[in-house]
Symmetry: C2
Subunit: 451 residues, 2 copies
Amino acid sequence: MNNRRNFIKSTAVAGLGLSILPSGIVFSKEKETKVRLGFIGVGLRGQSHLELALKRTDTDVIAICDVQQRMVDTSLKMISDSGKPKPQVIMDGPYGYKKLLENKDIDAVIISTPWEWHTVMCIDAMNAKKYVGCEVITGMTVEECWQLVHTSERTGMPLMMLENVCYRRDVMAVLNMVRQNVFGEIVHLQGGYQHDLREVKFNDGKNAYGNGAEFGEKGFSEAQWRTQHSVYRNGDLYPTHGIGPVAMMIDINRGNRFTQLVSYSTKARGLHDHVVKMGGKDHPNAKINFKLGDVVTTMISTANEETILLQHDTNLPRPYSIGFRVQGTKGIWMDINKSIYIEGQSKKSHQWEDAKEWLDKYDHPLWKKYGNDASGAGHGGMDWFVLNAFIESVKRKTNTPQDVYDAVTWSAITPLSESSIQLGGESVEFPDFTQGKWMYRKNDFVRGDDY
Amino acid sequence: MNNRRNFIKSTAVAGLGLSILPSGIVFSKEKETKVRLGFIGVGLRGQSHLELALKRTDTDVIAICDVQQRMVDTSLKMISDSGKPKPQVIMDGPYGYKKLLENKDIDAVIISTPWEWHTVMCIDAMNAKKYVGCEVITGMTVEECWQLVHTSERTGMPLMMLENVCYRRDVMAVLNMVRQNVFGEIVHLQGGYQHDLREVKFNDGKNAYGNGAEFGEKGFSEAQWRTQHSVYRNGDLYPTHGIGPVAMMIDINRGNRFTQLVSYSTKARGLHDHVVKMGGKDHPNAKINFKLGDVVTTMISTANEETILLQHDTNLPRPYSIGFRVQGTKGIWMDINKSIYIEGQSKKSHQWEDAKEWLDKYDHPLWKKYGNDASGAGHGGMDWFVLNAFIESVKRKTNTPQDVYDAVTWSAITPLSESSIQLGGESVEFPDFTQGKWMYRKNDFVRGDDY
């Protein structure tokens, strides 16, 4: 316990690279230390992070907090099965997390709660001098995004949005290729979230996926809260998996920035049709006028004159696809057809070749090193990498590789796309959340071979 | 010759379905007649149409017109080789085509000239009471588009833009599927023109494709004129191959219409890089500041609340792809991965299946009937179908299946996208070239089994 206490000891902050980094980060005198974690939200996603944390030898789970007994019970069993000590358990309504934050033994929190709770929890956690690892969507409004930035800057506490797709094996290989100039100068990128979520948004209230037309109070897991956003909001509601990886490839917030955005939306048919299919046309939810268009398309421009195309498509029957495309002056990669073309190097002129050989050749050093550790972890291993990056940052008392500026820049696409659609397809300015620092910051994301 | 004269006899116009159709179409009393063609422009593209016309038994080539001896010589040899009579040859500078239009023996003209000549030639031809089949891009400005509409309406002469991709075999099978409700209600579509044209835009002045860094007066074939548009214009310069097919699938100008459009452009790198690669950094063309962004992305919204994504990408090394996507409430087809997914019918849930079986099953009746005739024709046979549709329309003295409203609606995307980019990414209103008739017109495109 002494180690733990020392870790959180309040120390004057040393420079972490540039002066623009969060300046209140605490330091430990010990070389070997464990990261002491608190889990805010142990629903299915929180449990997934919990499982990875329990497998590590460099973490302790100090406390867990949730509003549902079922989730707490499952988590406690996981912890007990792992042989780790039973944590503090907090079940005290939606604001019970504040008690968890009072626990001085906690260095860092993992937040896996509904989107609408992320900002307030992140802010309270940073104010309590915790490192924050928060599930995707940090800031539902531009105002929330600014609050997160200001709080991180004022408290000096890092906020990492746990955007896992930045660590997908092919994505990291392509990032590696971008940095080795395989694609030449980058010109255009694509990503998105094209995933039939109908059985996530609706279920029978008992199982997480499908079998019913219920959501909200009668739903279970994500259907309890995520679906509300499809009822009331029209925009790219889930941009971070698509934008994070491509943002890192073109140095967003690190020599580049998003300058403006425009979104168009289609009609909304898919969710209503699904309710009727699962619950019949007289089901109460069949009366709901879902506001979220079935396909929302967004274009983003950047200071360095690339364009990015983002597609949000979660209400219709379709196979899963992020829809990555990375295109430069020398070639192009797309994930939908698993293909690549590099001028002068691809076997046949004007013809796609299988990307596999290239992805293997440029496999990122971190994947070579940790691929085995990651194997079996969620989402093809990338969940291991994103949590590892967070934990290692806490251990080193350094800023996180994806930081508060990334978190809000990627998340802000949602409210900005809502504005654009509301305005009938006007382009809207993208705020510079770094406040000019983007011109000076360097892109250190996964440069090293540690995390 | 009597037949020919009778064909063009000026007769009172019978109703061609709705009163909104061109009203000056001439009628013949003969049942069997040949379509007497004049070719304005017999460069490489004109020669391709000429070759198809020469193979038909229902056409005569009355006259050809061009400004280049080389092209005329090649065409005359083709005609001579076919055993058909030598046509009138007009070489009298750029306005020589006016002489061709004076030839009363000509029923219809095929225009295959540089884009900037299309509008004036189409207008003069319609005024001369010729049917007009014009290569793609009819109207470089919105004003030109309106001129074409007004001239066609006033003269009653049909203008068909020879948009061949509407007749691509997979595209017609998918149209067939759309009409049989396989995809459910259509929600989102994609198309574009993603084709590395660097060796079309630059050559050595002798060969059509590549081997140099020349264009304009020093270039040959398309490089003589097409490249200028990349020097001076930034927009989706070549929208019709992508938009035509999807427009037909959602009844544009026939119960639906485009309402607005927005375009974003990337930096321009590809053409300059290509000049340097082929001609060295001291080549005079290396000083040119090409205005056309390498990738131009356009979103279009429709009255029926679909969205359409168009991509124009002609300056970078990449494999050819129109990039079709057709998505509805029941499923999705994409051509980039040659895949389809139809809910409840595809073999595995949430997984793509090879589109081939579906495309075969829904092969369009016209392809079943004429696939053999079309085989060997340009662009995989679709060139045969588009010319056939034009010729058959002339023979039947009816409106063309793609008409003046389609021609200008599809072509107007270029100037509208230029405006949108110039305005910094503003959405611009789409003109209703049908002037309200879109609410009443029916979609008869390839409904029959004749053309």
